[in-house]
């Protein structure tokens, strides 16, 4: 099957340049994940036609919609898309039903059938009784669902969602995320989700595309990304310590002063990753066992679930999780020198 999206999105804006190749298969949900300012929203706007490309190309469902090289550009209203905006942008002068019917009317439905189908969509998102409410009378979660119904009602080949859950409070977000998951599953077309929340991406998307500073830094399914992060940003997202070094068999040299012993043998440029829970702290240099040890200084402490997360300075910055009992035993405080230890078996090494 040919992809729904076949694109090379290039947008040049002086100091910032977006350069993202992107393919989305029918039925696939792709999450564009990245820190603020990475260019995720610019990419979404380029797909929607709200931001023309400066180079590259964009083919939607087999149709050229943006190809600056041939001076070809299709305006948003002629693209087979639906967009859920971050703050929804429900038309304040129309009630929920007419907001959903708006797109249907623009796609040629007469008033009556547009309203009928809009009502069906509101029922589907569980807001049938709110059909006559104005947007300002709706809660955040309700507005999000109306926005989703409005975007889906026109049967878009590509559904675009810009931080669809960011404006919601924690509890609503949980419920809405689950519902959104259901609607995305039911949507026959492709979907592209822009988010900075890894949980949204992991729960909702089949595939993650990580964008940093306008470029794709990593791409793959949730399992690959979480197991083998390739940038500090991704490592932080998935909660791993990550180092880049040069491998020679079971040893990866990550710093002049530190070479880590790893379980997986490999050669050349390599990443080493291990979770904070794999880091043990000792008041003195531990001896005997064949594991990685190095001296460090405590830089900071914070609660992390039931444990304490300790930020360490030393040859490399590292995060360690310790139990409260161990913490009091070690008498941890910022500025105190400790020894860090990681078993080779708990590290994961892979080519860079």
């Amino acid at each position: 099957m040919s992809p729904v999206v076949d694109a090379h999105l290039v947008v040049d804006r002086g100091a910032f340049r977006l350069d993202v190749p992107l393919c989305v298969a029918p039925g696939e949900v792709v999450a564009l994940l990245g820190p603020n300012g990475a260019g995720k929203t610019t990419a979404l706007r380029a797909l929607a036609g709200l931001q023309p490309l400066t180079a590259g190309h964009l083919v939607l469902a087999g149709r050229d919609v943006d190809r600056p090289g041939q001076r070809h550009w299709t305006p948003p209203e002629h693209r087979p898309i639906g967009v859920v905006f971050q703050d929804y942008l429900l038309f304040p002068h129309l009630n929920a039903l007419d907001n959903v019917a708006f797109g249907l009317r623009r796609h040629g439905a007469d008033r009556r059938s547009a309203r009928r189908r809009a009502a069906e969509w509101l029922d589907r998102v569980g807001l049938g009784v709110q059909a006559r409410s104005r947007p300002r009378q709706l809660s955040g979660g309700q507005a999000q669902r109306v926005a989703l119904a409005r975007a889906l009602a026109v049967d878009p080949v590509l559904l675009l969602l810009d931080e669809p859950l960011a404006a919601l409070d924690a509890r609503t977000r949980l419920d809405t995320r689950a519902e959104l998951h259901g609607h995305l599953d039911a949507h026959p077309g492709a979907a592209l989700l822009v988010t900075h929340d890894p949980l949204d991406a992991l729960v909702l998307a089949d595939r993650l595309v990580i964008v940093e500073d306008g470029r794709v830094v990593q791409e793959g399914d949730a399992a690959t990304i979480t197991a083998r992060p390739r940038t500090d940003y991704v490592a932080r997202l998935v909660g791993l310590n990550l180092y880049r070094g040069v491998a020679d068999g079971h040893a990866v040299r990550v710093d002049d002063r530190l070479t880590l012993a790893v379980a997986d043998p490999l050669h050349g440029d390599a990443f080493v990753a291990f979770p904070p829970s794999a880091v043990a702290l000792h008041p003195r240099r531990p001896d005997g066992s064949p594991r990685n040890t190095w001296p460090a200084v405590i830089a900071g402490l914070q609660r992390h679930g039931d444990n304490l997360r300790v930020q360490l300075d030393g040859p490399v910055a590292v995060a360690a999780d310790v139990t409260p009992a161990a913490a009091s035993h070690l008498d941890l405080a910022p500025g105190r020198p400790v020894w860090a230890a990681v078993k080779a078996a708990e590290t994961r090494a892979y080519p860079a």
């Binding site: 929607a48 036609g49 038309f91």
Partner: protein, 283 residues
Amino acid sequence: MTSTDAHDTAARPEPGVSPRRRRAQRVPAALLGPALLGLLFLVLPLAGLVVRAPWSSLPQRLTEPGALTALRLSLQTATAATVVCLLLGVPLAWLLARARFPGRRLVRALVTVPLVLPPVVGGVALLLVFGRRGLLGEWLDSTFGFTLPFTTTGVVVAEAFVAMPFLVIAVEGALRGADARYEEAAATLGAGRWTTFTHVTLPLVAPGVAAGAVLCWARALGEFGATITFAGNYPGITQTMPLAVYQTIEGGDLDGAVVLSLVLLTVSVAILAGLRDKWITSA
């Protein structure tokens, strides 16, 4: 709210210590003094008209056909001028607020010219363009045998010329304040630019358009200088209420002028108040 308080204080200058009075005292005296003076300055001339009105002969004067003719003409032409301003001014405001083109600042400055131009000069300027010997007027006359001066249409043109800036400025301000991303949302839903304008942009800025239209209508209703210069003065055709008032004063009939002024004031205030209530409840 503040104006109500100020009014209360004005009505009761004696140092009574009611709770409301204590609330009014929190208004800084440095503001209250000039505010009251300003209010007085605006209201006193109106009071002068009311006091000076010849109440005994009022009913007879009101039914004089001349007064009603001028009033009807005033209301008709001011309304027509407002419609013209809406049809031309809203798109112009949109252009100034949304489009990017070279010389936009100059265009914006030009739009406000009728505000600073003495209306009589505006009338002369209109004559030089639309008059029988004017740049366009001569062509209109020779091609269609149609001239604007001394016609009711000419009155509408003069009023629209003077009143349009009020509409354009109000609508442009509303457009700048409106969130343009709603228009993007409409586009992603399949709405073309015109549909977006009529179905999204206009409803969003409707309060601004309404406010501009009211200002525009009020200005058109009181228009005098450009009208008398460009359209002339003939009862039933070009003599609007302000012209009738002026002519009555010139004729030495001060009482008659006061009556006409009061009629114009009462009708316009009633209409504006009525519209305002309607908008506030619907907003």
